[in-house]
Structure formats: C-alpha cells, structure tokens
Subunit: 216 residues, 2 copies
Amino acid sequence: MAQGAGNREDPRVTRTRELIEQSFYELLMEKSLHTLTIGEIAKRARINRATFYAHFEDKYALYRHVVRTTFAQILAENLPAQLDDPALELRALVRSACLFFEQLNATCPPPDRQTRPLVEVQVQAQLNEYVTVWLHKNTNHLGALAAPVDITAEMVSWAVFGAGLDWDGGRQSAEALAEQLSALVARMVGLPREAAADSLIEQGRNERDEELLSSR
Amino acid sequence: MAQGAGNREDPRVTRTRELIEQSFYELLMEKSLHTLTIGEIAKRARINRATFYAHFEDKYALYRHVVRTTFAQILAENLPAQLDDPALELRALVRSACLFFEQLNATCPPPDRQTRPLVEVQVQAQLNEYVTVWLHKNTNHLGALAAPVDITAEMVSWAVFGAGLDWDGGRQSAEALAEQLSALVARMVGLPREAAADSLIEQGRNERDEELLSSR
DNA sequence: GACGCTCTGTTGCTTACACAACAAATCGAG
DNA sequence: CTCGATTTGTTGTGTAAGCAACAGAGCGTC
C-alpha cells in the first residue's frame, strides 16, 4: 500500500519527495516512462526502493502527481494578482491550459501514443476540478446556468481540453487560442455582459494577431 | 556528545552531511564564522538542530572538516595518474598546499585574524599526516634520513606550511613557488639524484615563468 | 545585581528511512 | 513451453532524523 509516509510537514518527507520528483524528471529526459524502473528512480534519488512505495503507489501515480503540480504551477503563475474578478480568473484558467499544452507539445510531441494519454486524462480531470470550484465560488455572480454545475463543469473542461488537444501550435499562438476559448467559455457559464465586453476587446487584439500570422 | 550518526554508508548520513556542508559553505560567503549560529546552519539545511550535533561536535569541528576535505580534494586533483613515482607524488603534495593557500588568500585574505588561524593549524596538521604516510611508504626508495620519520615529517610540513603562509602571491605564481619548495623538500627527505634531475627540468620551466612575470 | 533574550548542548520519545529478504509478476532466450 | 533474469510490491527489523523540552551559558539592558 502507498502513502505510508503521512506527515507532509515532516522535513524528511518533503525532502525525499523532492528527491524522487527531481530524479524522475531527469530520467524522463533520458528515456521513456515505460522503459524506466522504480529501481532507477530510487538509485538516482539515493533513497531506498522501498521508500519510494511509501510515497507513491507506482511510477504512474508519480507521473500523475508531476503533471498535476506542473499544471498547478503554471496556473499559479498566470492567476491575476487580484482574485476579485471571476472573469479574469476564468481566463487565467483557460490560458494556463493552453500554455500547458504548448509546453507539452514542446517536450512530448503528439505522436507519442504511450505517455501522452496519461497526461491528457489528468489534465482534463484537473480542469474539471478547477472549473467546478470556480462555478461554486461564483454562482451569485452568474446568470442562470443552462445545466447543473457538475454537467457544466464537465462540458467546459472537455471543451477547453479538446480544443487544446486538437490545436496545432502553427496557426495561432497559445495566447490567441486562450482568448478565443475564453470568450466561448464565458458564454457557456453565462458570464454577464460587462465581463464579456472585456473579452471582446481582447478578441480584437486576436484578430490583429491572426492578420500577422496569415501575412507570411 | 557528537558522532551519534555512525554509519558512513547509510545514505541518510551522507545526505545530511552534504546538506550541512553545503549550507555552511553558503553561509560562510555571507557572514563570518563567529557570527553564524548552529540554528542558522540547520535551518538552511532543512534539518533539525539536534541532528547537527549527531554529526559534528560544534561549528569549529565542521569548519575543520570542510578544510580537510577541500585540501584532500585539491590533492586528489593534482596527484599524478601513476602513483609509482615517489618524487612526483611528493611534488603533487607540495603543489596542492600552494594551490590551497592561493585559494585561501582569494576567499579569506590574510588580515582576517579570526578564522585563518583555524584553517592554518589544520593545514599544517594535515600536511604532517600526508608527509608521514609518504615517508613510511617510501623508506626503501630513500637514502638515510637525517632524522627520525616523525621529526622529518614535522619539519617538512612546517617548512612547506610556513613558506606558503609567508608567501604573498604577487611575486611568483603558486606553481613557481611549489617547484622551488619541492626542490628543497626533496633534499630534506634525501631523494636520490635521478628524481632530483626531474625537478631541475621543472625548475627550468619556472625560470621562464618568472621571466614572464618580471617582464611586466 | 536582576531581568529578559538568544544560543548552546543534551535528552526521551516518535516517525521516516535503509536494508535484506521474500513471493509474485514480467519478459526474453533457448 | 521452460528456464533464468529482472522487476515489482511487500514485510520485519534496526537506525537516523525530527521534535519538544530542558538546564545552562553568554550578553546586553534597566
């Protein structure tokens, strides 16, 4: 069983987790997820192999965890300083998803049919969580939803996720994509007009971006 | 009492020792040895303060240990690949001492009357150890010593140490100094002629170095 | 002097990690 | 298929590290 090392406050726990994540990250640069063993991870992290199992169920759980934290980190970097505007917060979320896909395409190109599905399912689930939280936090700022919260969250997350998945970075930048998706997501959740006006201004900028891109 | 953590093979031991040494090294760049506390070291190393005492008696013991290991490291880098020639080995030792002083002068200038004495006494002791080992290892390659091994080692180590201490890096390079000291040390321990000839060749190179230095 | 404060070592107890050994699963070679 | 080799999870036991609490030393302030 996993999670034998419980106390996240204990310096020893955070240290070995960091060691595991670091060596795992390094090894992923050198070989694929499937060919790499727990023993290798433990050896490079200079921890005992049994200790690994005290922290993660297996290497896939570790992989999910790494995906989660990098996504959360991107989100944290893109959240606006002020958290008082729900529209801005939602845009930051969509934006982060696009940036994540951009980064993913750079490090692990789409042809990879081995590890990418693991990332993708994780990203969709995480998007779902974030959207759900956002919806619950902002029910009073929104008009009537077209569907229950959980259904809405499901659809929004899949919409953003699917669009990001099918996106080939060539035609438009991650930023531009994010703006377009945000405008549509705003409608899905019934954001009021005033916030939507914000999106239209941004969309104007997108059209200029597209002109620039198509002019070559 | 110290040295509660005994087993040097245990990864936990080496890990925390490295953490302690690393944060200690960092802190020494920021403040003096005397103003810095065990608590600071432990905090930066993210270990418990009590754990520190399981490894080192106090911060001076840690300091001695750091000096020892950096000296040993310089020596390891300067030892010839082939350990079969006693003369070369001895020269490497002297050379390392000079390089150590060079490095010491760069990071911790002589006017410092607080920490330098701690380094110096340590270096002399360590030189003494190395010379003693060398003498024992090469008794059969040497002529009759002018004094017992321990006395000879004592005098050689003090001679090298004192010369290094009084050396102000301006007049000649560490390399040049090392060559001159080596030649004299070779006599002290009664190295045979053939090995001494080696030194003369090197000394020829030194004279060129000195010309370069004096030409500016 | 008395005080408050910080740093020093030390101690008893708890928890996380190391290690060896194990059975079971996986996999490639013959 | 069978064999050997490797990897996977899991377990019991010893030890290092975390933590809180302590008395004592040093040190500046009133």
